[in-house]
């Protein structure tokens, strides 16, 4: 990196850091060796002329799709050429090639192939896997419909078995049943795994998956009975051809139903699957990826906003002195540093889920599913919690960059529009929170019934112990030490216990008033969502705190501890009502917490740039003029703007078409 060219402010910031950013990068990557390998893969992409192209901000949607397809096909070939096969390494390679954006083969690589591996019979694997591996078959995963998303049981597409011809007849019986949104469906794929309600022998057997060819191999024209296309422009995802699919009496052979678990025999007899819990595994895995994605997207936005805030000078703090860096304003620090701490927290949470999933998925294959319910419940809530927080945080970062944040050259608009759908896909966030709540209420009821619960909800066990002494949780005295992360974990734990209990009691009160369980659940759902949120918040503070003891380098541990304290204290400050109402903290303590938050802002300030440098995003990947590593913002904004499509001609054609005639007339 060309230090001589570096903006003087950033050079000063980096020189003043109290720790070595590389050491923290190693922790984020999971070891120095992983960092080395990541950078090696990054270099393969960045130094490859095949992966260069014009700034995507200046391309039309159709051009962006074309670039993405071009790079995707090269990517698949090069991955094999380089022999990169480890899933994490493939992920790195892919995200460098596509610079953190989606691409049309995402669903083929991420859903179609894995689904074949897990749900196809050996015979089906023989027929489909190698052609799909070699991309003669490009597939997508067609689940959501116009009328239904997260609530899968409501899907309306039908697959009716015809024993006479041994075929399934697929239909989209209503407008709402048209498959809508699947990535790569509009223009790219020639096959789709379609989820449909299975009808055989006159009975509905629920949702099943079918391999459906949709375009003619060779001409790529849609097959008769298939209507397929692109769903039009979206907020982001320009490079992805999210599509629609309508099927009219479209017939596929019986063997195209994925039959590793459930089966339809030639005569139409339906054979039930052994366990339907197995499919949870994939969902848990994908949701865990979203937690990691929340961390990375927020980290990118923080990197941009913090570097830019160190370069931008504005107004005056002290009369008569030069304009200060905007990062020196308390309000700016208050916007950005809690987000920086959040980004670190989410990184550690993402790593935790990934490790736990690895451990448990070993057990799943061995048939032990006992830990699955908790992990499923936990990832649902954490997916929602982290994606909501990151979504809002990215916007905060953009707003903190003032007017220039609004320009696409800042890169943050793109991070935002790419990230924000994760609040919806793979399970709408509110629904996810309610899934976690269901688990929390179940655990609470177990405790009330005298059983003990384990894992992250074990704090609920304490509730019954307190109930022996006739004392409300709220009256419990907790002596919170605001400079001790472990003590703060206890405070968050007490808050979670109180709000889970409050939600459970409100639910019970509704049940006492009304007959229907569902109605009571709905009338308590705002409380239930809050209970899930505070549970997740507790888990995150706990995991962040646990991480501290694993850091061996003292300087790094010191700065990460400051971030951890800021994360925990800022959360208390922002949710002071919960802590006061539960009697966990007094208003005097809240005042101390507020004060301590502001002190921590000043303490973190000298390391702010080094802390975002540790995320180690390459400029190409960051895609931001404001967040460049060298900080040469203004001259590069000018260079960037000159490439705008409106600047292609000196005098725009609308001058001759509209302006001139008008001036002549008036």
């Amino acid at each position: 990196r060309r230090l001589t060219m570096m903006n003087a402010d950033l050079r000063r910031e980096r020189a003043a850091a109290t720790f070595q950013p590389e050491l923290l990068t190693h922790i984020l990557d999971g070891g120095a060796e992983r960092t080395r390998r990541r950078k090696e893969i990054e270099a393969l992409v960045i130094n490859d002329p095949d992966f260069q192209h014009e700034d995507l901000n200046f391309l039309s949607r159709s051009q962006r799709y074309e670039q993405a397809i071009r790079k995707s096909s090269l990517m698949v070939m090069k991955l094999r050429e380089y022999g990169i096969a480890d899933p994490e390494e493939i992920y790195w390679f892919k995200s460098f090639v596509h610079r953190g954006r989606p691409e049309p083969l995402d669903l083929h690589l991420g859903m179609f192939l894995p689904t074949l591996l897990t749900q196809a019979t050996p015979e089906q694997q023989d027929r489909f896997f190698m052609p799909a591996w070699n991309l003669e078959i490009i597939g997508t995963y067609a689940q959501t419909e116009m009328g239904h998303g997260t609530h899968l049981r409501g899907l309306e597409t039908t697959a009716t078995y015809d024993p006479a011809t041994q075929e399934f007849i697929l239909n989209s019986p209503t407008v709402t049943s048209i498959k809508w949104w699947p990535g790569g469906l509009g223009k790219t794929s020639n096959h789709a795994i379609v989820l449909a309600q299975l009808y055989t022998q006159g009975q509905c057997k629920g949702l099943h998956a079918f391999i459906v060819p949709i375009r003619q191999l060779g001409t790529h024209e849609p097959l008769p009975g298939i209507t397929v296309g692109d769903i039009g422009p979206k907020f982001g995802y320009d490079e992805m051809d999210n599509g629609y699919l309508k099927m009219d009496n479209f017939r596929i052979p019986r063997e195209n139903m994925l039959m590793k678990y459930a089966q339809v025999e030639p005569d139409g007899t339906y054979v039930k699957p052994v366990s339907d819990k197995l499919t949870y595994g994939t969902m848990v895995f994908i949701r865990s990826l979203i937690v990691g994605d929340s961390a990375r997207s927020l980290s990118r936005a923080c990197t941009i906003a913090i570097r830019y805030s160190a370069v931008r000078h504005q107004s005056e703090l002290k009369p008569g002195e030069p304009e200060p860096q905007i990062l020196d304003y308390q309000t700016q620090q208050y916007k950005l540093f809690p987000l920086l701490a959040t980004a670190y927290a989410f990184h550690f949470v993402g790593a935790y889920i990934k490790d736990t999933y690895r451990r448990i998925s070993g057990d799943i294959n061995a048939g032990d599913l006992s830990e699955l319910p908790e992990l499923h419940a936990l990832t649902a809530g954490l997916k929602a919690f982290t994606s909501w927080t990151a979504n809002a945080g990215i916007e905060e970062c953009r707003m903190a960059c003032g007017g220039h944040g609004y320009s696409r050259c800042s890169g943050i608009p793109d991070i935002y529009v790419t990230f924000t759908p994760s609040c919806t896909y793979e399970g709408e966030n509110t629904v996810m929170m309610l899934q976690t709540a269901r688990f929390l209420i179940k655990s609470y009821n177990q405790v009330i019934a005298g059983q003990r619960v384990s894992g992250m909800v074990s704090y609920l066990n304490d509730l019954s112990r307190q109930r022996i002494q006739p004392q409300h949780v709220a009256a419990r005295t907790v002596s919170v030490r605001i400079n001790d992360p472990t003590s703060l974990v206890e405070a968050y734990k007490a808050r979670a216990a109180r709000l889970v209990e409050a939600a459970a009691k409100n639910l019970q009160a509704e049940l006492n008033h009304r007959k229907s369980k569902e109605d009571a659940w709905n009338r308590t759902s705002v409380d239930l969502v809050r209970a899930s949120e505070v549970h997740c918040h507790y888990v995150i503070v706990k995991l962040f705190t646990a991480k501290l003891s694993e850091i061996s380098n003292a300087a790094v541990r010191a700065v990460v501890t400051e971030l951890c304290l800021l994360y925990a204290l800022y959360g208390i400050s922002k949710n002071a009502g919960d802590f006061m109402q539960a009697g966990i903290l007094t208003d005097a303590q809240i005042t101390q917490v507020n004060q301590r938050v502001k002190e921590l802002l000043a303490i973190i300030r000298p390391n702010a740039v080094a802390l975002v440098d540790s995320f180690d995003f390459h400029d190409t990947h960051l895609g931001s003029v404001l967040g460049r590593y060298d900080g040469n913002v203004y001259e590069n904004m000018f260079e960037w703007a000159k490439k705008s499509p409106l600047n292609k001609t000196e005098v725009h054609e609308s001058f001759h078409k509209h302006l001139k005639p008008m001036q002549a007339k008036l």
Binding site: G147, L217, G402, C423, R523, A576, M580, Y634
Partner: protein, 659 residues
């Protein structure tokens, strides 16, 4: 035909929708004029926004210019005048999608800052569009902090000219609308230098493009600043000046003038000018901030009444998502806020009308209050409404993410309002400065402006509410808001005082308190908004059905604010933990009550389908059919896939299978 799920919502309305529309418009005559304007605009195909979501930046820009030109013709044809009753509805009807908005700012700044001769020289040709103006204030390196601008204008006595320069890259003018491609002239703000002495920022009229062939004038570098989150139709521009000479008469000189010999003269009071800038912040609230939230609520609530998902009770059909408490909790507070802000906007307009009259009588006493109000409310409303639109967007699940829902473009447009006309944090700090000053004055028994007299009413105490119904009494919650606003102002003022007394320098003490100051300013605006909502509801007494539903919305707005900021209200024990539980209970009960009228409440905003331009939010609720039809119009479905022949075919056919 109307989707039965929406039709049934309308049958059970507890109030007259038309009656409420009239209340919102401020009288039946206004409603009539508004509808007439909308009708004329929407019938004209030139103003159609039908294919907007499929257009490129270049196409959007061209359409905006075409519309602007056509609008001139239309206004002439219809006899609509800039000072006529129709004018305020025109911009709304074209949904802001026209060029030359800065041309109006250009003209206004000449009218306000220019001498009589300058007005006579520039305004007639500008009115006839013989020149197109822009307004070049912000630079790459500076926005809200105007004193920091770096462009220079040096007076040359020998030629009687100003020499304008962009001395460094950060001084380049950046962002001004209409400047990238359209404008021929612009008002440039630059640091004035005479005989080596700097006199601060002044406005100069500079020609940038030829009136003959539109090419750039000598010494001018200008262009478009590139793609943004929205405003694709506007050519926000950059401008670099290299030794550009303009005559002495081009400095706008109503208040300041440089005489031929270089003598600098300041005359009259700039306070009126200051007042004009302040009014801009208030004038944008209605169309740029509140209206987008109303539109977003309309789309999201209608869609939530049509979308059915999952079952509330086993055996029944799938439930409307609007029946889920969590969905109500997302949308209904936004709806209540849209009404609250509409009414507080009326309050601000009254405040400014009164202020304007006083100022015309050379009485400038109300300026600080007007300035503080415009800053604080612009910041609070734009922040709140931006967040509200985003909540509506996300409440529509996957389909909200499609541009065809109309929500992404509403969002990307409204969020610019958090920055332009003053960055929100800085504006809130200006309001806070006023509050701290007034608090000190009030404590010393001195008179303070009307909107802050409450600051003198410091009285420690406890909220008297005994049960959840007490919290539906406006006296109870207005008092709670007032108490919290006073507490935040007074405690921050006290802390500031402590720091200064302990030897911390004044500016440093201020920076250390800014987080709290921002909080105090927000609490003040929130209090005024609640109080004004209550007063507005009281005045609706002759409209029983409307008053009742507005009272519910007012309660919801107030209780939601307490529920969401519980810590602030619990802090000194004014509200107890047990009372907070009552507030929560009352708040959740209200959701169920307002739910019944949710669709009529958005119908009352009276948006046409064309103005919503949303596949999800149309009046008839035929959501899915429309979404499918619109998607088929997408260019991606009408052209051959550009990637197929080049990349997909080789991919599918041979290359990889050899690997």
């Amino acid at each position: 035909s109307v989707n039965p799920d929406l039709a049934s919502e309308r049958q059970t309305a507890s109030f007259s929708v038309e009656g409420l529309t009239t209340v919102l418009d401020g009288g039946a005559e206004h409603t009539r004029v508004r509808r007439a304007v909308v009708e004329v605009i929407e019938r004209d195909p030139v103003f159609s926004r039908e294919n907007q979501y499929f257009q490129t930046q270049n196409e959007r820009y061209e359409a905006a210019v075409r519309k602007a030109v056509h609008l001139q013709k239309k206004m002439h044809e219809m006899g609509w005048r800039e000072d006529g009753p129709e004018f305020i509805y025109i911009y709304r009807a074209v949904a802001g999608d026209v060029a030359f908005l800065l041309h109006r700012v250009f003209m206004r700044s000449i009218s306000v800052l220019g001498s009589d001769e300058q007005v006579a020289k520039w305004i007639p040709p500008a009115t006839k569009h013989q020149l197109i103006g822009s307004y070049a204030q912000t630079e790459l390196g500076h926005g809200t902090y105007l004193q920091g601008l770096e462009t220079t204008a040096v007076f040359d006595t020998t030629t009687q000219e100003f020499i304008l320069n962009t001395p460094k890259i950060s001084a380049m003018k950046w962002w001004p609308g209409d400047m990238g491609r359209s404008a021929t002239h612009t008002v440039v703000f630059a640091q004035l230098y005479v005989h080596g002495k700097c006199y601060g920022v002044h406005p100069f009229i500079v020609q940038i493009r030829s009136l003959r062939d539109h090419s750039l004038c000598p010494g001018i570098t200008a262009g478009d600043i590139g793609p943004k989150m929205n405003f694709e139709h506007i050519d926000n521009g950059y401008l670099m000046l290299q030794n550009v000479r303009i005559p002495r008469e081009n400095m706008l000189n109503k208040f300041c003038e440089v005489e031929p010999d270089g003598t600098y003269i300041r005359r009259g009071s700039q306070k009126i000018n200051y007042f004009t800038m302040t009014t801009v912040r208030v004038s944008l609230l209605s169309d740029e901030v509140i209206l987008p939230l109303m539109k977003a609520c309309t789309i999201a609530i209608r869609y939530s009444a049509v979308r059915r998902q999952s079952k509330l009770n086993p055996g029944e059909e799938e439930a409307k998502i609007l029946d889920y408490q969590t969905q109500q909790e997302k949308l209904l507070p936004q709806l209540a806020a849209a009404y609250a802000f509409h009414f507080v906007n009326n309050y601000l307009h009254k405040l400014f009308d009164r202020g304007y009259k006083e100022i015309q009588e050379r009485n400038f006493n109300s300026l600080p209050e007007l300035h503080a109000s415009s800053s604080g409310f612009k910041a609070m409303l734009s922040q709140y409404c931006t967040a509200g639109v985003e909540i509506c967007l996300r409440a529509c699940g996957g389909h909200g993410y499609s541009l065809l829902s109309g929500l992404p473009s509403l969002y990307t447009k409204i969020l610019a309002s958090c920055i332009y006309e003053g960055e929100n944090t800085i504006l809130l700090l200006q309001t806070a400065r006023f509050l701290v000053k007034c608090f000190a004055a009030a404590s010393a028994g001195q008179p303070v402006p009307q909107s802050v007299t409450y600051l003198a009413a410091v009285k420690p105490g406890k909220c008297p509410a005994k049960n959840k119904l007490d919290f539906l009494n406006p006296d109870i919650y207005v008092e709670a808001y007032q108490h919290t606003a006073i507490r935040l102002s007074s405690s921050t003022a006290a802390k500031l005082q402590d720091l200064i007394q302990s030897g911390v320098k004044k500016h440093e003490a201020w920076n250390q308190c800014t987080v709290q100051l921002v909080q105090a300013a927000k609490a003040h605006c929130h209090y005024i908004t609640v109080k004004n909502f209550v007063e507005t509801v009281e005045k609706l007494e002759n409209k029983a059905g409307i008053q009742k539903i507005m009272k519910h919305l007012c309660d919801l707005f107030a209780l939601h604010g307490i529920f969401s900021n519980a810590g602030l209200f619990l802090h000194d024990g004014y509200i107890s933990g047990a009372q907070m539980d009552m507030i929560t209970a009352s708040y959740l009960d209200l959701l169920g009550v307002i739910r019944k009228d949710a669709v009529p409440l958005v119908d009352a905003f009276d948006f046409t389908d064309k103005s919503l331009n949303s596949a999800l939010g149309s009046y008839d609720g035929n959501v899915y059919q429309r979404l499918y039809e619109w998607a088929q119009k997408s260019p991606t479905n009408q052209q051959i896939s550009p990637a197929y022949e080049k990349y997909l075919r080789p991919l599918l056919h041979n290359k990889l299978s050899k690997l």
